[in-house]
Symmetry: C2
Subunit: 211 residues, 2 copies
DNA sequence: AACTGTGAAGTTTTTCACAGCC
DNA sequence: GGCTGTGAAAAACTTCACAGTT
């Protein structure tokens, strides 16, 4: 996960920032304007000390005696995570999952814009899914390179995921969110994150009663 | 995450076991019958020492000089994670996401069986989604308690997720996989895991070129 | 009085390195 | 020769606790 060896800020810290951002946005929706490391920690199940230390990596965002101005902190975190822009995303796979992703409206206010939907199946190519016309994989490389797209979501069956990943790497993609339940091999400099609901559930069953 | 304070085996170790299982299953599909901590680590991007140490918590599953018999190791890991049975799962929310989950065929061979689909919308209740008839939330508690269901997936909009979680707790659910981009508050003894694609992407943008 | 930011201490996690076995 | 299992060492991460600010 941490692409740089000489990385000043631990990757585990970076990984928590989106959670802080999500909780802060929620607090704001509730009409709260100022919060504290304690309140935020309570919501997230994280210690207040950890939140303060994490944030301190990026400068003093809080005020002693007061806490953190939510608007200000949100803005700073968005800057740190490079969310002060819209990242265009390509989705590969127009099946049930790819369709659900295409319909979802929760990306745009968090820094992302689903921009293209690709599928290998000729029967799907050309059809409309939400606001997208499904494109063939033959157009993948041209489309993504021309538009400097760096992020893709892989929503194809496991047996095709590595092939698709190879095409994405070829097309200059630097970040892949892989929904297929399989580990991808990619060159240095390309990041992969995984979403596999079964992994989460198998983690939890360890702690469940036998019943 | 770790429900027990006095927990012999670190939760972070438990969290990796499903990944080992997934990679092992894949190796088996490729016709490989024996593997080593080195080979497995290579596939997963994890050090061989870590894999050996993780597995050693549960006993000696390998053979010196040889490695690990995949069938045997898979069986052992399934025992540890209590996957030597089928866990019934309730899905709450029959929108795009809930539907995609209902259609997905990848649960049953990994220990789970989607068994019920619930939704609050009267227009959706009674309709067919894949092999399920959508049920009303009023039937939630009875259905789940009667069937000793311990696991649920929350696939409802963020603003309803906490309400649904409360109902699930009330119905005796012990493990929740939450797809809504919001932190849930649950009593001691109930686990929650989160799936939020945006969190993964925001994590990765930190490392992307500004472009 | 309340809260941040931070060195220092404490804890957890990972890696090393090697004895022992196949 | 190749590989596991494991104490010991190293590294990473979290918490403590308090000086300093509002």
């Amino acid at each position: 996960m941490p692409p740089k060896i000489e990385n000043r800020i631990p990757d585990i810290v970076i990984g928590r920032l989106p959670l802080y951002l999500r909780a802060l946005t929620r607090l704001k929706q509730e009409g709260i304007e100022v919060t504290s490391s304690h309140e935020l920690g309570q919501r997230l199940g994280i210690s207040s000390a950890q939140i303060r230390k994490d944030l301190s990596h990026f400068g003093g965002f809080g005020k002693q005696g007061t806490g953190y101005q939510i608007d200000f902190l949100v803005d700073k975190l968005q800057n740190v995570l490079k969310l002060d822009r819209h990242w265009k995303i390509a989705v590969i796979g127009a099946g049930n999952l790819g369709s659900a992703i295409s319909h979802y409206r929760g990306f745009s206010d968090r820094g992302f814009e689903i921009s293209w939907l690709f599928d290998a199946d000729p029967d799907k190519v050309g059809t409309q899914v939400d606001r997208f016309v499904v494109r063939p994989l033959s157009e993948l490389k041209d489309t993504l390179t021309k538009n400097h797209c760096q992020i893709a979501m892989v929503a194809v069956p496991a047996q095709h995921a590595q092939t698709v990943a190879n095409m994405l790497v070829e097309a200059g993609i630097k970040a892949i969110l892989n929904y297929a339940p399989i580990n991808l091999t990619v060159p240095e400099g390309v990041m992969v994150q995984y979403i596999d609901p079964v992994v989460h559930m198998q983690h939890m069953t360890y702690y469940l009663e036998d019943k």
